[in-house]
Every structure is written in C-alpha cells, then in structure tokens.
C-alpha cells in the first residue's frame, strides 16, 4: 500500500492573473503498487508538467491545487524538507535528457554515491561505492567498475541514460517517474531502455509512471494509459483496449494518423489544425476546434470523463452517446487503424 499513488484534481498554473498559464487542468490518476501508467500526449499537452508537479519540482510562481497521495500520505501539504526526503528516495525520476541530468564535472559513481549517502541508504562511503557498482550492473551496464569512475562525457548516450536510471532507482523508490526517457536516444537503444524498465518493474514492486508521446512505447509497456490533451485527460483505460477501440475522437485521430508499413499507399491521415500551445485556453472541449464530430454543445462546456466501459473513461459525449450500442466513429478516421499497430 505504501506505493499506491493517487492524484486527484491536479491543477498546475504558472504565473498569475492575465498571464496565468494553465498547464494542467484537473487530472486524476491512480497507480496501484507495481502498476504501470502511461501518460500519453503530444508536446504541450501537460504530461511533463503533471509528472513534475507530482514531485513538486516547481518553485515560487507556480500554483498547484488538488491532492496527491503516496501510500495515503498527502504530498501537496508536506513541508519542503520532508518532500526533499521523498524525492529521489521514494519517488524517483528519470529525466528526458540524460546528458543534461548529470553533473558534467563529477564521475557517475560520485553522483550515485551522493544520492545513497544523502538519503542514508548506506552509512559509509565504502558501502556506497559497492552499491553504486551493483546498481550500474543492475541497469545493464557492461563494465560497471570502469563506468563508476567515468565522467558523463566519456559515455555514450545509451549508457548515460542507464546511469541516470540507476540514480533514479538507487534508493528503491516506490514510484518511478520517467519523462520521455527515450526521446534523446537512437531507436535501437530505445528498445533496450524500455526493456530495462520492464525488467526493473518485474524484479521489485515499483510502480511506473511513464510520460511519452510514443504510442509504440505505450503498447510495449502495457498497463493503464491516460491520453492527455491541452492539460486534460481525454481518455483513460487499459492500454490494449484503448488502442484497439479508442473512444475519443482525438485518440481515434491520433492512432489513425500513425503511418505503418504494410498499409496500402495513400495520403497520411492527419488531424487538421494544430494542438494548442501549453496553457492555451478555449471554452468548451479543448479538441473542439479540430474535431470532426463537433457539435454546438462541445464549444460550451468541457466534457467530463464518463465511464464508457469497464475501467474505461472518455471525455466525449458525442462518441459515447447514452445509447451504448455502438460508439460512433468518424469517416475519415477508421477504428481499424489500431489493428495495423499490432502488425
């Protein structure tokens, strides 16, 4: 139970008054111990901000409302000193750019040891050093003895990312938050890193919150998915089901627009228009401007997430009309596109 993460009504706003940027508007999510949750969305959707808000990484000038509990303990009201104890020890974060996340002047080992000693996981430098080597080994680094003494610039991108993951899991966190951990890497290395995440989860009962824009990664990982757009969750549910039968026009459009080999030639299907910039406000549903199923009602009130199946929710009343016979799909987006994904 101590690793049960529950987020309710999370709202993150940068700045105040006229210049306020509402990056996250009322997000609910819940991760069981050992569970996996993928926050899926494009740039500007608010997914990274959500992850950072959970860790309270933002400072003055940012307002966070809502509730975030870890194992029942409310995080939003914790004094900063106590929050600092949690960061890196009970909640670990793997940032997007491994090069940027490492101090360029210090060795990997030194940075690992620091986390271990600050959070008092070990009590001596010797123990810290031994554990550092162990951790590097656990994340799949071939020659941990050499890497522990190496500086970041001596390592390849993939190795740096593994080192960063090692730092994130050093204190055996209950929750691991990974913010687009594969974006800065080559495709071949990406697959290996995702495999590493799966392995790490299997071996401990750590839960994983993965933030990504890559549908393939979501599919690879399994678990729950939350599709974010303009600071809101538009659809949630088990990944396999959502990808097979998306219940929101945005998700449908997203999946339909993925190019895949084996499909007959033709135009790439795209969602017309552009996604809103971080915090761009519109009344009504944020997707209304681009939605092929839009009705007048859509521009007035942002739709709430409603149950559309077991463990599934979507925020679109048009697709999920009260008579739940067959949810509407749009000509132009085909639900069948998701089958091509699994090919």
């Amino acid at each position: 139970m101590s690793s049960h993460l529950k987020v309710t009504g999370l709202t993150t706003t940068f700045g105040r008054g006229d210049e306020a940027v509402h990056a996250v508007r009322g997000v609910d999510l819940e991760i069981e111990p050992s569970g996996t949750y993928v926050l899926l969305g494009e740039s500007g959707s608010g997914k990274s901000v959500t992850a950072r808000s959970i860790l309270r990484l933002y400072q003055s000038g940012t307002t966070i409302t809502g509730s975030i509990t870890l194992g029942g303990e409310e995080l939003t009201t914790l004094p900063e000193r106590r929050m600092r104890e949690l960061r890196g020890s009970r909640i670990g974060m793997v940032p997007q750019d491994p090069t940027g996340a490492l101090d360029p002047l210090r060795s990997i080992g030194a940075q690992l040891m620091e986390v271990l000693l600050v959070h008092r996981i070990v009590d001596s430098k010797a123990a810290a050093r031994a554990r550092a080597v162990e951790l590097l080994d656990r994340v799949g680094i071939a020659d941990p003895g050499r890497v522990v003494k190496a500086k970041p610039h001596m390592l390849s991108g993939g190795m740096r990312q593994r080192a960063v993951i090692a730092i994130a899991i050093a204190c055996n966190p209950d929750v691991l938050i990974a913010d687009e951990p594969t974006t800065a890497l080559d495709v071949t290395v990406q697959a290996a890193v995702i495999e590493l995440f799966r392995e790490l989860q299997e071996r401990s009962d750590m839960s994983l919150l993965m933030v990504t824009h890559d549908v393939g990664i979501a599919e690879e990982l399994g678990g729950e998915v939350g599709v974010m757009y303009a600071g809101r969750l538009l659809e949630t549910g088990p990944i396999g089901e959502v990808l097979a039968t998306p219940k929101h026009p945005y998700t449908q459009g997203l999946l339909a627009s993925l190019p895949s080999p084996g499909v007959e030639r033709g135009h790439l299907k795209v969602i017309p228009g552009r996604p809103p910039l971080t915090g761009e406000t519109a009344s009504g549903c944020a997707f209304a401007a681009r939605c092929p199923l839009v009705t007048d009602a859509c521009h007035v009130v942002p739709p709430a997430l409603v149950r559309v199946g077991t463990g599934r929710e979507a925020a679109c009343p048009v697709v999920n009309a009260p008579d739940e016979g067959s949810p509407a799909t749009v000509s132009g987006f085909s639900a069948g596109a998701s089958e091509e994904l699994s090919a």
């Binding site: 990484l57 960061r87 986390v115 500086k151 610039h153 960063v164």
Partner: protein
C-alpha cells in the same frame, strides 16, 4: 593528466624562447649606435671597433642572441648601468617582494570577486545585488594609479588606518606588519581583477544554476545548499581561466602600484630603471615576469584540467 602536464611544459619551451627573442630584440631597436654613445664623441674609429669587439657587438645577431641567452640561463643577466651591480640579484630579490604583493592581491581579488558576483547572481533584484553588480562594473575600469592615489589621500592620509608607503615598519615587523603594509597596495591591484572575476562568476553561476542538471539534482532530493555547492563547482573552470588572465594584469600593474606605495618590488625597480634608461635591468625584469607568467599559466591550465576532465585532450 601527466600527459597533459608534459605537453604543456613541452610547449612552454618554444614560447619562452620566443619571449627571450623579443626581449632581446627590444634592445636592438633602440635608435642610434650604443657604441658611439659609450665610447664618447672624441673616440677614434679604432677605439670604437675595439669597444665593439669587446662587447661582442661585431658578431652576427644570432650569435649575439645565443650568447645572451646562454648567459641568462646561467643566471648572468648583465650588470645594471645605474647601480653597477649584477642585474640578476637585483631583479630576483625585487621579484620576490612583487610575488608577495601579487599573491596577496590575487587572494583579495578572488574573495572579493566571488562575493560580488555571488550576491549579484543570487539576489539579482535586491538592492544589494544591484550594488554588487554596479561595483563589479565600475571597478573593472579603475586605473591602478588613480585608485592608488585615492587610497593614499583619503585612507592613509585621511584616516591613518594604513601606512602610506613601504613594505615593513621600522624594526622589521612580522607577518602581521607585512599584511598591514601590504593591504592598500594589494587592494589597489586587486580591484580590476575583482571586477572581472565578479562578472565572470556571476555569469557562470547563473549559467550553472540554469542548467538542466540542477533540476535533476532537485529531483534526487538534494538540499538547496548542496545544489549551490555543485553549481559553484561548475563555475570553477571559467573562474580559473579568468584568474589566470588576471595574473598577467597583476604582474604588469605592479609598476604603478609599487611606485606609488614605495613597495620595493620589481615594479618599483622597473620604474626607476626607466628614468635612468637602465636597459639591462628593464630587459631582465620583463624576461623574469614573462617567464613567471608562462609558468603560472601552466599551473592554471593544469588546475583547470584537473577539475574538468573534458579539456584534458586539448
């Protein structure tokens, strides 16, 4: 790291050679014939030729240079025209005093600079932050002779808190006396370097604090103080580079500061030698200062490479 050091030392040799060539040539560019001046108006050609020969001035210039250089390496830097003593001894003892002053000034400069730059970086919008920023900007333009005079007139003569001149009080004095006498001269020399170091420190600290890894450090649960410590660590390379440059400034500036404060160092020696056109001393002084500067740069570079292993391959 040892390879880095070896490379630097090896490279210093041609540089020092070049330096000695230039110093040697500065005497050769003097208009007029030195032999004619030394021999006198009424000397015959034969007397001039004999004098020329005894001074070795009839040999070709490369040989002359070589002789001069080998003598210099043996410690023979000629004889002072004004004082009729071996130049080497004069220069070296004076240089020792200058080193003391330069070291004192460097310490003051680094401490003051980091203070000014640090406050300006961490509290940019507060009054004290702006004041520190302004002080850094202004002190960069401060001519040493102007500041020296200001200090003497307003502090020494005005308040009597510090002595007007000299390196020691009467009766020898110890380290405390030395520090007391040296404070104003060192501070005078330190103002421009402090301003430069302050500006660089402020810029690098802001840079370091803006880097991605700072957020990563926060995500690891490190305290603000630790993060600041690591940020400052990351500013050390650029600080070192700037400090190295300032050593050259300090070594040059002593001419003014020592003269005005009557500090018996190389600067004062050079000043007096200029008035008496004592060229052997001027040559020797410039040579020793340049050689010292080259060595200091090697030390600074090495420290830089020690801290930041990325530069070890350059």
């Amino acid at each position: 790291m040892t390879r880095f050091l070896a490379r630097r030392l090896l490279y210093a040799v041609p540089v020092l050679l070049g330096v000695s060539i230039i110093v040697f040539l500065t005497v050769k560019i003097i208009p007029g014939d030195p032999v004619a001046t030394l021999a006198g108006i009424n000397s015959t050609d034969a007397q001039k030729a004999a004098l020329r020969h005894s001074l070795g001035l009839d040999k070709n210039i490369v040989v002359q240079f070589w002789t001069w250089l080998t003598h210099a390496l043996e410690g023979n830097l000629g004889t002072s025209i004004a004082q009729h003593r071996p130049t080497a001894g004069l220069v070296m003892s004076a240089f020792g005093n200058t080193l003391i002053l330069a070291a004192y000034a460097m310490i003051l400069a680094v401490v003051l600079g980091m203070l000014l730059g640090g406050v300006a970086a961490l509290k940019p919008r507060s009054i004290i932050g702006r004041v520190c920023s302004a002080i850094s900007s202004i002190s960069v333009s401060a001519p040493q002779y102007s500041v020296a005079l200001l200090f003497i007139i307003f502090i020494s003569l005005g308040t009597g808190a510090f002595p007007v001149s000299g390196m020691h009080g009467t009766g020898g004095g110890g380290v405390g006396d030395l520090l007391w006498h040296g404070f104003l001269p060192a501070l005078t020399s330190a103002l421009v370097p402090a301003g430069m170091i302050g500006r660089v420190f402020r810029a690098s600290l802001l840079d370091a604090l803006g880097m991605d890894f700072v957020e990563a450090l926060r995500a690891r649960g490190l305290s603000t103080n630790r993060i600041l410590f690591h940020a400052v660590h990351n500013t050390l390379p650029s600080l070192l580079t700037m400090a190295g440059l300032q050593v050259g400034y300090l070594l040059g500036g002593v001419v003014f500061v020592e003269t005005i404060f009557s500090w018996p160092g190389l600067g004062e020696l050079l000043f007096n030698s200029i008035s008496s056109r004592d060229l052997p001393v001027i040559q020797a002084g410039v040579l020793v200062s340049a050689a010292a500067f080259v060595l200091v740069n090697i030390v600074v570079d090495s420290a830089h490479a020690l801290i930041d292993s990325r530069v070890r391959n350059t």
